[in-house]
Symmetry: C2
Subunit: 210 residues, 2 copies
Amino acid sequence: MIQELKNNFGHLFEAELLQEINQVGTYKDVSEGVKMMEIGDYVRSMPLLISGAIKILREDHNGDELLLYFLEKGDTCAMTLTCCLGQTKSEIRALAATDATLIMVPVEKMEIWAGKYKSWRKFVFESYHNRLNEMFATIDSIAFLKMDERLVKYLKEKSRISKDHIIYSTHQEIAYELHTSRVVISRLLKKLENLNKITLHRNHIFIKNI
Amino acid sequence: MIQELKNNFGHLFEAELLQEINQVGTYKDVSEGVKMMEIGDYVRSMPLLISGAIKILREDHNGDELLLYFLEKGDTCAMTLTCCLGQTKSEIRALAATDATLIMVPVEKMEIWAGKYKSWRKFVFESYHNRLNEMFATIDSIAFLKMDERLVKYLKEKSRISKDHIIYSTHQEIAYELHTSRVVISRLLKKLENLNKITLHRNHIFIKNI
DNA sequence: AGTTTACAGTAACATTGGTTACATTCAGCT
DNA sequence: AGCTGAATGTAACCAATGTTACTGTAAACT
Protein backbone atom coordinates (compact mmCIF):
# COMPACT_ATOMS: atom_id res chain seq x y z
CA MET A 1 0.00 0.00 0.00
CA ILE A 2 1.35 3.36 -0.96
CA GLN A 3 1.58 5.28 2.27
CA GLU A 4 0.38 8.58 0.81
CA LEU A 5 -2.77 6.91 -0.44
CA LYS A 6 -3.63 5.78 3.07
CA ASN A 7 -2.71 9.13 4.61
CA ASN A 8 -4.80 11.19 2.25
CA PHE A 9 -7.73 8.98 1.39
CA GLY A 10 -7.76 6.48 4.23
CA HIS A 11 -10.46 8.32 6.11
CA LEU A 12 -12.68 8.42 3.02
CA PHE A 13 -12.56 4.90 1.65
CA GLU A 14 -12.97 1.46 3.18
CA ALA A 15 -10.00 -0.90 3.21
CA GLU A 16 -11.22 -2.94 0.26
CA LEU A 17 -11.54 0.09 -1.98
CA LEU A 18 -8.16 1.40 -0.87
CA GLN A 19 -6.70 -1.96 -1.89
CA GLU A 20 -8.29 -1.71 -5.31
CA ILE A 21 -7.03 1.83 -5.80
CA ASN A 22 -3.60 0.71 -4.73
CA GLN A 23 -3.64 -2.12 -7.25
CA VAL A 24 -4.81 -0.30 -10.35
CA GLY A 25 -3.62 3.24 -9.62
CA THR A 26 -0.28 4.57 -10.75
CA TYR A 27 1.72 7.04 -8.73
CA LYS A 28 2.80 10.15 -10.58
CA ASP A 29 4.98 13.18 -9.87
CA VAL A 30 4.36 16.41 -11.70
CA SER A 31 6.57 19.50 -11.69
CA GLU A 32 5.24 22.99 -11.32
CA GLY A 33 4.12 24.50 -14.60
CA VAL A 34 3.53 21.20 -16.39
CA LYS A 35 0.35 21.10 -18.45
CA MET A 36 -1.71 18.15 -17.32
CA MET A 37 -4.73 18.50 -19.52
CA GLU A 38 -5.68 20.60 -22.53
CA ILE A 39 -9.03 21.75 -23.81
CA GLY A 40 -10.28 19.18 -26.28
CA ASP A 41 -8.31 16.30 -24.80
CA TYR A 42 -10.00 12.99 -24.21
CA VAL A 43 -9.57 11.73 -20.69
CA ARG A 44 -8.36 8.21 -20.00
CA SER A 45 -7.70 8.33 -16.30
CA MET A 46 -8.73 10.09 -13.20
CA PRO A 47 -6.39 11.88 -10.79
CA LEU A 48 -6.50 11.64 -7.00
CA LEU A 49 -4.41 14.50 -5.68
CA ILE A 50 -1.95 13.58 -2.93
CA SER A 51 -0.03 16.83 -2.59
CA GLY A 52 0.47 20.14 -4.35
CA ALA A 53 -2.06 22.21 -6.25
CA ILE A 54 -3.50 22.11 -9.75
CA LYS A 55 -4.97 25.17 -11.36
CA ILE A 56 -7.94 24.82 -13.64
CA LEU A 57 -8.29 27.35 -16.45
CA ARG A 58 -10.88 28.24 -19.02
CA GLU A 59 -10.02 29.71 -22.41
CA ASP A 60 -12.20 31.51 -24.94
CA HIS A 61 -12.00 31.39 -28.73
CA ASN A 62 -9.46 34.24 -28.79
CA GLY A 63 -7.08 32.39 -26.52
CA ASP A 64 -7.94 34.58 -23.53
CA GLU A 65 -7.56 32.74 -20.24
CA LEU A 66 -9.37 32.79 -16.95
CA LEU A 67 -8.54 30.99 -13.71
CA LEU A 68 -11.47 28.92 -12.50
CA TYR A 69 -10.21 27.30 -9.29
CA PHE A 70 -7.50 25.27 -7.66
CA LEU A 71 -7.52 21.58 -6.81
CA GLU A 72 -5.71 20.56 -3.66
CA LYS A 73 -4.83 17.55 -1.53
CA GLY A 74 -7.69 15.06 -1.39
CA ASP A 75 -9.42 16.50 -4.42
CA THR A 76 -10.13 14.96 -7.76
CA CYS A 77 -11.05 16.58 -11.03
CA ALA A 78 -14.82 16.46 -11.32
CA MET A 79 -14.71 17.13 -15.03
CA THR A 80 -12.71 14.03 -15.79
CA LEU A 81 -15.38 11.95 -14.11
CA THR A 82 -18.05 12.42 -16.69
CA CYS A 83 -15.67 13.07 -19.51
CA CYS A 84 -14.66 9.49 -18.94
CA LEU A 85 -18.18 8.16 -18.80
CA GLY A 86 -19.58 10.24 -21.61
CA GLN A 87 -16.52 10.09 -23.82
CA THR A 88 -16.61 13.85 -24.18
CA LYS A 89 -13.69 16.21 -24.55
CA SER A 90 -12.28 18.31 -21.76
CA GLU A 91 -13.70 21.82 -21.47
CA ILE A 92 -10.81 23.02 -19.36
CA ARG A 93 -7.04 23.20 -19.09
CA ALA A 94 -5.17 21.91 -16.06
CA LEU A 95 -1.70 23.06 -15.02
CA ALA A 96 0.39 22.10 -12.00
CA ALA A 97 0.41 25.23 -9.85
CA THR A 98 3.07 23.72 -7.60
CA ASP A 99 4.99 20.47 -7.72
CA ALA A 100 2.36 17.83 -7.20
CA THR A 101 1.93 14.11 -6.64
CA LEU A 102 -1.10 12.16 -7.64
CA ILE A 103 -2.50 8.72 -8.22
CA MET A 104 -3.99 8.03 -11.62
CA VAL A 105 -6.92 5.64 -11.74
CA PRO A 106 -8.13 4.07 -15.01
CA VAL A 107 -11.53 5.40 -16.02
CA GLU A 108 -13.26 2.03 -16.24
CA LYS A 109 -12.99 1.67 -12.48
CA MET A 110 -14.87 4.79 -11.72
CA GLU A 111 -18.29 3.54 -12.78
CA ILE A 112 -17.67 0.08 -11.35
CA TRP A 113 -16.75 1.47 -7.95
CA ALA A 114 -19.76 3.78 -8.04
CA GLY A 115 -21.97 0.72 -8.11
CA LYS A 116 -19.92 -1.17 -5.56
CA TYR A 117 -18.80 1.28 -2.89
CA LYS A 118 -20.97 3.78 -1.12
CA SER A 119 -17.90 5.68 0.02
CA TRP A 120 -16.81 6.12 -3.58
CA ARG A 121 -20.20 7.48 -4.57
CA LYS A 122 -20.02 9.87 -1.66
CA PHE A 123 -16.56 10.98 -2.75
CA VAL A 124 -17.62 11.51 -6.33
CA PHE A 125 -20.82 13.37 -5.46
CA GLU A 126 -19.01 15.56 -2.98
CA SER A 127 -16.36 16.26 -5.53
CA TYR A 128 -18.98 17.51 -7.97
CA HIS A 129 -20.63 19.49 -5.26
CA ASN A 130 -17.36 21.17 -4.27
CA ARG A 131 -16.55 21.99 -7.85
CA LEU A 132 -19.94 23.52 -8.46
CA ASN A 133 -19.50 25.60 -5.34
CA GLU A 134 -16.10 26.76 -6.52
CA MET A 135 -17.68 27.73 -9.80
CA PHE A 136 -20.28 29.75 -7.94
CA ALA A 137 -17.53 31.53 -6.06
CA THR A 138 -15.73 32.21 -9.34
CA ILE A 139 -18.89 33.57 -10.92
CA ASP A 140 -19.52 35.75 -7.89
CA SER A 141 -16.05 37.20 -8.24
CA ILE A 142 -16.34 37.97 -11.91
CA ALA A 143 -19.91 39.21 -11.82
CA PHE A 144 -20.08 41.06 -8.54
CA LEU A 145 -16.57 42.22 -7.68
CA LYS A 146 -14.45 44.93 -9.19
CA MET A 147 -10.97 44.21 -10.38
CA ASP A 148 -9.27 45.49 -7.23
CA GLU A 149 -11.37 43.16 -5.06
CA ARG A 150 -10.80 40.25 -7.39
CA LEU A 151 -7.07 40.87 -7.20
CA VAL A 152 -7.10 40.87 -3.40
CA LYS A 153 -9.09 37.63 -3.40
CA TYR A 154 -6.61 36.13 -5.84
CA LEU A 155 -3.61 37.14 -3.73
CA LYS A 156 -5.20 35.69 -0.60
CA GLU A 157 -5.92 32.40 -2.33
CA LYS A 158 -2.45 32.16 -3.80
CA SER A 159 -0.67 32.89 -0.55
CA ARG A 160 -2.89 30.36 1.22
CA ILE A 161 -1.88 27.70 -1.27
CA SER A 162 1.82 28.52 -1.32
CA LYS A 163 1.73 28.47 2.51
CA ASP A 164 4.18 31.36 2.85
CA HIS A 165 3.69 35.06 2.25
CA ILE A 166 5.42 35.30 -1.06
CA ILE A 167 3.77 34.91 -4.43
CA TYR A 168 6.16 34.11 -7.23
CA SER A 169 4.30 35.53 -10.18
CA THR A 170 4.85 38.34 -12.61
CA HIS A 171 2.19 40.96 -13.13
CA GLN A 172 1.63 39.55 -16.60
CA GLU A 173 0.88 36.10 -15.25
CA ILE A 174 -1.65 37.45 -12.78
CA ALA A 175 -3.24 39.49 -15.56
CA TYR A 176 -3.72 36.35 -17.65
CA GLU A 177 -5.38 34.46 -14.84
CA LEU A 178 -7.78 37.29 -14.03
CA HIS A 179 -8.30 38.02 -17.70
CA THR A 180 -7.19 41.62 -17.68
CA SER A 181 -4.07 43.51 -18.79
CA ARG A 182 -0.67 43.79 -17.22
CA VAL A 183 -0.98 47.56 -16.85
CA VAL A 184 -4.16 47.22 -14.84
CA ILE A 185 -2.58 44.71 -12.48
CA SER A 186 0.54 46.85 -12.02
CA ARG A 187 -1.66 49.82 -11.25
CA LEU A 188 -3.75 47.99 -8.65
CA LEU A 189 -0.78 46.26 -7.07
CA LYS A 190 0.91 49.62 -6.64
CA LYS A 191 -2.19 50.88 -4.87
CA LEU A 192 -2.09 47.89 -2.51
CA GLU A 193 1.56 48.61 -1.83
CA ASN A 194 0.74 52.22 -1.00
CA LEU A 195 -1.90 50.94 1.41
CA ASN A 196 0.90 48.95 3.04
CA LYS A 197 -0.78 45.62 2.34
CA ILE A 198 1.93 44.15 0.14
CA THR A 199 5.46 44.93 -1.02
CA LEU A 200 6.40 44.57 -4.65
CA HIS A 201 9.58 43.01 -5.94
CA ARG A 202 10.76 41.85 -9.30
CA ASN A 203 9.20 38.42 -9.95
CA HIS A 204 7.57 38.14 -6.57
CA ILE A 205 5.14 39.85 -4.23
CA PHE A 206 5.35 39.83 -0.46
CA ILE A 207 1.98 39.71 1.27
CA LYS A 208 2.11 41.73 4.47
CA ASN A 209 -1.39 42.24 5.70
CA ILE A 210 -4.11 41.79 3.18
CA MET B 1 -47.71 4.90 -14.35
CA ILE B 2 -47.89 8.62 -14.94
CA GLN B 3 -47.74 9.01 -18.70
CA GLU B 4 -45.47 12.05 -18.65
CA LEU B 5 -42.92 10.14 -16.61
CA LYS B 6 -42.72 7.48 -19.28
CA ASN B 7 -42.64 9.99 -22.10
CA ASN B 8 -39.84 12.07 -20.68
CA PHE B 9 -37.70 9.61 -18.80
CA GLY B 10 -38.67 6.28 -20.33
CA HIS B 11 -35.66 6.24 -22.65
CA LEU B 12 -33.31 6.89 -19.73
CA PHE B 13 -34.43 4.49 -17.04
CA GLU B 14 -35.25 0.79 -16.96
CA ALA B 15 -38.82 -0.30 -16.21
CA GLU B 16 -38.09 -1.22 -12.62
CA LEU B 17 -36.65 2.19 -11.80
CA LEU B 18 -39.54 3.91 -13.57
CA GLN B 19 -41.90 1.91 -11.36
CA GLU B 20 -40.06 3.04 -8.25
CA ILE B 21 -40.11 6.67 -9.34
CA ASN B 22 -43.80 6.35 -10.09
CA GLN B 23 -44.46 4.96 -6.63
CA VAL B 24 -42.54 7.42 -4.50
CA GLY B 25 -42.62 10.52 -6.71
CA THR B 26 -45.28 13.18 -6.46
CA TYR B 27 -46.54 15.08 -9.45
CA LYS B 28 -46.46 18.85 -9.11
CA ASP B 29 -47.62 21.84 -11.15
CA VAL B 30 -45.89 25.17 -10.77
CA SER B 31 -47.00 28.52 -12.21
CA GLU B 32 -44.67 30.94 -13.91
CA GLY B 33 -42.90 33.21 -11.47
CA VAL B 34 -43.24 30.95 -8.44
CA LYS B 35 -40.13 30.70 -6.30
CA MET B 36 -39.19 27.05 -5.99
CA MET B 37 -36.07 27.32 -3.90
CA GLU B 38 -34.30 30.06 -2.00
CA ILE B 39 -30.64 30.51 -1.08
CA GLY B 40 -30.10 28.94 2.31
CA ASP B 41 -32.98 26.47 2.01
CA TYR B 42 -32.46 22.86 2.95
CA VAL B 43 -33.52 20.47 0.26
CA ARG B 44 -35.82 17.56 1.01
CA SER B 45 -36.69 16.35 -2.45
CA MET B 46 -35.37 16.25 -5.93
CA PRO B 47 -37.20 17.53 -9.01
CA LEU B 48 -37.44 15.72 -12.35
CA LEU B 49 -38.62 18.28 -14.88
CA ILE B 50 -41.45 17.14 -17.15
CA SER B 51 -42.26 20.38 -18.93
CA GLY B 52 -41.57 24.10 -18.73
CA ALA B 53 -38.39 25.85 -17.67
CA ILE B 54 -36.79 26.76 -14.36
CA LYS B 55 -34.32 29.58 -14.07
CA ILE B 56 -31.46 29.28 -11.65
CA LEU B 57 -30.12 32.48 -10.14
CA ARG B 58 -27.21 33.49 -7.99
CA GLU B 59 -27.29 36.41 -5.58
CA ASP B 60 -24.49 38.31 -3.88
CA HIS B 61 -24.43 39.84 -0.41
CA ASN B 62 -25.92 43.10 -1.70
CA GLY B 63 -28.92 41.34 -3.16
CA ASP B 64 -27.63 41.70 -6.72
CA GLU B 65 -28.81 38.90 -8.96
CA LEU B 66 -27.35 36.98 -11.84
CA LEU B 67 -28.93 34.40 -14.10
CA LEU B 68 -26.91 31.21 -14.15
CA TYR B 69 -28.84 28.91 -16.46
CA PHE B 70 -32.18 27.34 -17.29
CA LEU B 71 -33.37 23.83 -16.55
CA GLU B 72 -35.63 22.24 -19.12
CA LYS B 73 -37.55 19.06 -19.86
CA GLY B 74 -35.65 15.97 -18.78
CA ASP B 75 -33.31 17.91 -16.50
CA THR B 76 -32.89 17.74 -12.80
CA CYS B 77 -31.27 20.17 -10.44
CA ALA B 78 -27.73 19.00 -9.84
CA MET B 79 -27.35 21.14 -6.77
CA THR B 80 -30.17 19.44 -4.92
CA LEU B 81 -28.42 16.13 -5.42
CA THR B 82 -25.56 16.77 -3.08
CA CYS B 83 -27.40 19.23 -0.95
CA CYS B 84 -29.51 16.25 -0.04
CA LEU B 85 -26.60 13.94 0.62
CA GLY B 86 -24.41 16.43 2.39
CA GLN B 87 -27.21 18.19 4.26
CA THR B 88 -25.91 21.52 3.04
CA LYS B 89 -27.92 24.59 2.18
CA SER B 90 -28.80 25.68 -1.30
CA GLU B 91 -26.40 28.12 -2.92
CA ILE B 92 -28.90 29.20 -5.52
CA ARG B 93 -32.42 30.43 -6.09
CA ALA B 94 -34.82 28.66 -8.44
CA LEU B 95 -37.82 30.31 -10.10
CA ALA B 96 -40.31 28.91 -12.57
CA ALA B 97 -39.49 30.71 -15.83
CA THR B 98 -42.64 29.32 -17.41
CA ASP B 99 -45.49 27.20 -16.11
CA ALA B 100 -43.87 23.89 -15.31
CA THR B 101 -44.67 20.35 -14.27
CA LEU B 102 -42.34 18.13 -12.35
CA ILE B 103 -42.05 14.98 -10.31
CA MET B 104 -40.60 15.33 -6.84
CA VAL B 105 -38.57 12.42 -5.55
CA PRO B 106 -37.68 12.04 -1.85
CA VAL B 107 -33.97 12.54 -1.26
CA GLU B 108 -33.37 9.18 0.46
CA LYS B 109 -34.05 7.41 -2.82
CA MET B 110 -31.35 9.16 -4.68
CA GLU B 111 -28.42 7.46 -2.96
CA ILE B 112 -30.20 4.10 -2.86
CA TRP B 113 -30.86 4.19 -6.59
CA ALA B 114 -27.30 5.25 -7.25
CA GLY B 115 -26.16 1.95 -5.79
CA LYS B 116 -28.87 -0.06 -7.46
CA TYR B 117 -29.36 1.29 -10.98
CA LYS B 118 -26.64 2.00 -13.47
CA SER B 119 -29.02 4.16 -15.51
CA TRP B 120 -29.68 6.34 -12.47
CA ARG B 121 -25.96 6.83 -11.91
CA LYS B 122 -25.57 7.74 -15.53
CA PHE B 123 -28.41 10.23 -15.26
CA VAL B 124 -26.99 11.83 -12.14
CA PHE B 125 -23.45 12.04 -13.48
CA GLU B 126 -24.64 13.47 -16.75
CA SER B 127 -26.75 15.95 -14.92
CA TYR B 128 -23.70 17.20 -13.03
CA HIS B 129 -21.72 17.25 -16.20
CA ASN B 130 -24.35 19.30 -18.02
CA ARG B 131 -24.63 21.75 -15.16
CA LEU B 132 -20.88 22.24 -15.00
CA ASN B 133 -20.85 22.86 -18.73
CA GLU B 134 -23.63 25.42 -18.38
CA MET B 135 -21.60 27.10 -15.69
CA PHE B 136 -18.62 27.23 -18.02
CA ALA B 137 -20.79 28.84 -20.65
CA THR B 138 -22.05 31.35 -18.09
CA ILE B 139 -18.52 32.17 -17.01
CA ASP B 140 -17.46 32.57 -20.61
CA SER B 141 -20.25 35.05 -21.15
CA ILE B 142 -19.47 37.13 -18.13
CA ALA B 143 -15.72 37.03 -18.47
CA PHE B 144 -15.19 37.18 -22.21
CA LEU B 145 -18.22 38.90 -23.72
CA LYS B 146 -19.25 42.51 -23.64
CA MET B 147 -22.69 43.51 -22.47
CA ASP B 148 -24.15 43.83 -25.98
CA GLU B 149 -23.07 40.30 -26.83
CA ARG B 150 -24.36 38.96 -23.53
CA LEU B 151 -27.71 40.60 -24.19
CA VAL B 152 -27.98 39.02 -27.63
CA LYS B 153 -27.14 35.64 -26.16
CA TYR B 154 -29.75 36.16 -23.48
CA LEU B 155 -32.44 37.11 -25.98
CA LYS B 156 -31.66 34.09 -28.13
CA GLU B 157 -31.87 31.75 -25.15
CA LYS B 158 -35.10 33.28 -23.93
CA SER B 159 -36.83 33.13 -27.27
CA ARG B 160 -35.66 29.54 -27.72
CA ILE B 161 -37.25 28.59 -24.41
CA SER B 162 -40.49 30.51 -24.90
CA LYS B 163 -40.75 28.89 -28.34
CA ASP B 164 -42.19 31.99 -29.98
CA HIS B 165 -40.52 35.24 -30.95
CA ILE B 166 -41.80 37.37 -28.14
CA ILE B 167 -40.06 37.90 -24.84
CA TYR B 168 -42.34 39.12 -22.09
CA SER B 169 -39.86 40.95 -19.91
CA THR B 170 -39.30 44.53 -18.91
CA HIS B 171 -35.91 46.13 -19.38
CA GLN B 172 -35.54 46.18 -15.62
CA GLU B 173 -36.04 42.42 -15.36
CA ILE B 174 -33.44 41.76 -18.01
CA ALA B 175 -31.06 44.12 -16.25
CA TYR B 176 -31.44 42.15 -13.01
CA GLU B 177 -30.69 38.85 -14.68
CA LEU B 178 -27.62 40.14 -16.46
CA HIS B 179 -26.59 42.12 -13.41
CA THR B 180 -26.46 45.54 -15.00
CA SER B 181 -28.70 48.62 -14.96
CA ARG B 182 -31.97 49.30 -16.70
CA VAL B 183 -30.51 52.25 -18.58
CA VAL B 184 -27.77 50.12 -20.07
CA ILE B 185 -30.27 47.51 -21.27
CA SER B 186 -32.59 50.15 -22.76
CA ARG B 187 -29.63 51.65 -24.60
CA LEU B 188 -28.46 48.34 -26.03
CA LEU B 189 -31.98 47.18 -26.92
CA LYS B 190 -32.54 50.41 -28.81
CA LYS B 191 -29.36 49.76 -30.76
CA LEU B 192 -30.61 46.27 -31.65
CA GLU B 193 -33.89 47.78 -32.77
CA ASN B 194 -32.06 50.25 -34.99
CA LEU B 195 -30.18 47.30 -36.48
CA ASN B 196 -33.61 45.84 -37.29
CA LYS B 197 -33.00 42.76 -35.19
CA ILE B 198 -35.83 43.30 -32.72
CA THR B 199 -38.80 45.58 -32.19
CA LEU B 200 -39.49 47.06 -28.80
CA HIS B 201 -42.86 47.31 -27.11
CA ARG B 202 -44.03 48.06 -23.65
CA ASN B 203 -43.59 44.89 -21.56
CA HIS B 204 -42.45 42.75 -24.43
CA ILE B 205 -39.83 42.47 -27.13
CA PHE B 206 -40.35 40.95 -30.55
CA ILE B 207 -37.36 39.05 -31.89
CA LYS B 208 -37.12 39.49 -35.64
CA ASN B 209 -33.78 38.30 -36.77
CA ILE B 210 -31.10 38.07 -34.16
C1' DA C 1 -62.35 60.19 -19.05
C1' DG C 2 -59.01 61.34 -15.82
C1' DT C 3 -55.53 59.82 -12.60
C1' DT C 4 -51.90 57.05 -11.22
C1' DT C 5 -48.05 54.26 -11.79
C1' DA C 6 -44.80 51.50 -14.01
C1' DC C 7 -42.11 51.45 -18.08
C1' DA C 8 -39.16 53.33 -21.51
C1' DG C 9 -36.14 57.00 -23.91
C1' DT C 10 -32.30 59.82 -23.55
C1' DA C 11 -28.79 63.26 -22.25
C1' DA C 12 -24.94 64.28 -19.44
C1' DC C 13 -21.66 62.81 -16.61
C1' DA C 14 -18.58 59.65 -13.60
C1' DT C 15 -15.95 55.63 -13.11
C1' DT C 16 -13.67 51.57 -14.31
C1' DG C 17 -10.89 49.22 -16.94
C1' DG C 18 -8.30 48.57 -21.32
C1' DT C 19 -4.67 50.45 -24.64
C1' DT C 20 -0.60 52.66 -26.24
C1' DA C 21 3.64 54.36 -25.54
C1' DC C 22 7.68 55.03 -23.35
C1' DA C 23 10.96 55.17 -19.42
C1' DT C 24 13.17 52.71 -15.86
C1' DT C 25 15.05 48.95 -13.31
C1' DC C 26 16.49 44.51 -12.20
C1' DA C 27 18.36 39.65 -13.07
C1' DG C 28 21.04 36.82 -15.55
C1' DC C 29 24.56 36.36 -18.70
C1' DT C 30 29.26 36.95 -20.81
C1' DA D 1 31.56 45.59 -15.14
C1' DG D 2 28.73 45.96 -19.01
C1' DC D 3 25.11 44.07 -21.96
C1' DT D 4 20.57 42.34 -22.82
C1' DG D 5 15.94 41.16 -22.26
C1' DA D 6 12.24 40.76 -19.25
C1' DA D 7 9.65 43.02 -15.76
C1' DT D 8 7.78 47.01 -13.86
C1' DG D 9 6.19 52.06 -13.40
C1' DT D 10 3.51 55.57 -15.19
C1' DA D 11 1.14 58.97 -18.05
C1' DA D 12 -2.29 59.94 -21.34
C1' DC D 13 -5.95 58.53 -23.63
C1' DC D 14 -10.14 55.82 -25.01
C1' DA D 15 -14.11 52.79 -24.76
C1' DA D 16 -17.54 50.51 -22.14
C1' DT D 17 -20.44 50.62 -18.60
C1' DG D 18 -22.75 52.57 -14.64
C1' DT D 19 -25.30 56.66 -12.56
C1' DT D 20 -28.37 60.51 -12.15
C1' DA D 21 -31.90 63.02 -13.61
C1' DC D 22 -35.51 64.17 -16.20
C1' DT D 23 -39.16 63.45 -19.88
C1' DG D 24 -42.65 61.11 -22.25
C1' DT D 25 -45.98 57.42 -22.68
C1' DA D 26 -48.67 53.28 -22.32
C1' DA D 27 -51.32 50.45 -19.20
C1' DA D 28 -54.31 49.95 -15.31
C1' DC D 29 -57.39 51.51 -12.23
C1' DT D 30 -61.29 54.33 -10.34
